[in-house]
Amino acid sequence: MHDFIVPFGPQHPAEKEPMCIRAGLEGETITELDLRFGYVHRGMEKIFEGKGIDQGIYLCERICGLCSESHSMAFTRTIEEMLGLDVPMRVRHLRSIVTELSRLHSHMIWAGFMAHEAGYETLFMYLMRERERIMDILERTTGGRVHYGINKIGTLRYDVPNAKLAKMVEDVDTTLKNIEKYVDTFRNDGTLKERLVGTGMITGIQAKRFGIVGPVARGCGINNDVRKSDPYAAYDLADFEVPTYKGCDAWSRTMVRLEELYESGKIIRQLIKDIPDEKIPAFKFTKADDGDHFARIEAPRGELFYYLKVRDSKIDRLAIRTPSMAVLPMVLKPALMGEKVSDLPIVISSLDPCFSCMERVVIVEKGKEKVYTEPDFRRKFSGR
């Protein structure tokens, strides 16, 4: 029932990452969708097997460049809870601070993209300019712009001096003050509203049924945030709100993320204010008992779930459920059906997918979900 098919990707100007969607069109309306994933599948979970536990932190940051800190956070949380390690308060504070900083930079790059897709190239540039300040803070405190490598099991690789933290608050405040103008543009600008309000609707019922997480769920009025419901690191000490909107459309999701920027700023300010002065223990992890555990944290895109099984002090199995995986394959179809083809990039951006995180074994074909079993998988991918 479509007139013609428009392929979108895997290399497409509007998407920075390879993904492939074939949209069947009737006139300008999308009536059929064929999603093809797997363009950045790297077999990450398999690489983890047999690696030492401290090597896991290095590797899990390389799952995704945008939320690398969240991945290492989830990994350390899993292993620390499994071993029952007692993590000093200062370490916890610093970890939360770095995670919030990475949330800031992730949401800002996303806001820039949103503006770019809506045709606001200048807004994109302005937001990216402000984002560089956050990147500078991250580089100053952790040594890396993208992969920080600051977490170690039970401790941090190095302490961050208090003087740096004071400067950090200043810089975060400046950034948040500077972007107020741009947030206002998102909130009030007529053109943006015209394009975003009512686009890419996912109803609350659908959201609940698909079990979606993160800002997309919060844009549907579902208040779920792991930082509140299952606090980790130092989040139980911080006082912050979880913004929710009931619009269920691209605009609500935009507003949720933009308000989260300010909440992150709040958390950083509070945690730096009452960070305890203590010495960070040296890293001395040698051996782990066999066992398994799962833990979750709130990544910029939603709940990130890690399952870890350890045998002989080595990683035996690591299963990851990333927020993009939970959101995108489920809601892309309901969100896009009946939309105009020109809204396709906007809707995808508003879901904020991260394909590097997402590409695991599940392959979605024409709405039917097909999960590969191990023999299938071997036949398909490693029969060389």
Binding site: H12, G38, R42, G43, I47, R62, E132
Partner: protein
């Protein structure tokens, strides 16, 4: 004529055939006001047919092998390839994966490698500058 234009204002096209996003966002950062490669005439283009330089970040997995080759073929001569990041070098722990059959180098000819995980935006700009030098020195005939 084309040679002159390319030296003055190379247009780049970016393709990520299977790395983490790290390199991709650093390439993006080079376009933003802090590093602003447009002042050097470098413009990011969506279509490979418009581009002079192909910037590849990440490994090529099975799925992307033919795509990468196709993108390279679609570019018009003279074409330069810059591989960004340790993934594209074909090193690192990730290189042992079952889906990563070939290095970028084995699929398409690469002129310049930029090492780092991820390299800084400065290094990426330097890499593109070197690529132009390679072109100028005539090792690549258009």
């Amino acid at each position: 004529m084309a040679g002159k234009a390319i030296r003055r204002s190379p247009w780049i096209n970016h393709f990520n055939p299977g790395g983490c996003n790290g390199c991709a966002i650093e390439i993006l950062a080079t376009l933003t006001p802090r590093y602003d490669v447009e002042r050097l005439g470098i413009v990011l283009k969506g279509s490979p047919r418009h581009a002079d330089i192909l910037v590849v970040s990440g490994y090529a997995n099975r799925m992307n092998e033919t795509r990468l080759k196709r993108i390279y073929e679609q570019m018009s001569d003279p074409k330069i390839v810059v591989a960004i990041g340790r993934c594209a070098l074909g090193e690192g722990r990730l290189a042992k994966s079952y889906v990563l059959c070939k290095r970028v180098e084995e699929i398409i000819p690469v002129d310049v490698f930029v090492a780092g995980c991820p390299p800084t935006p400065e290094a990426i700009i330097e890499g593109i500058r070197r690529a132009l030098e390679v072109y100028k020195n005539g090792s690549k005939k258009g």
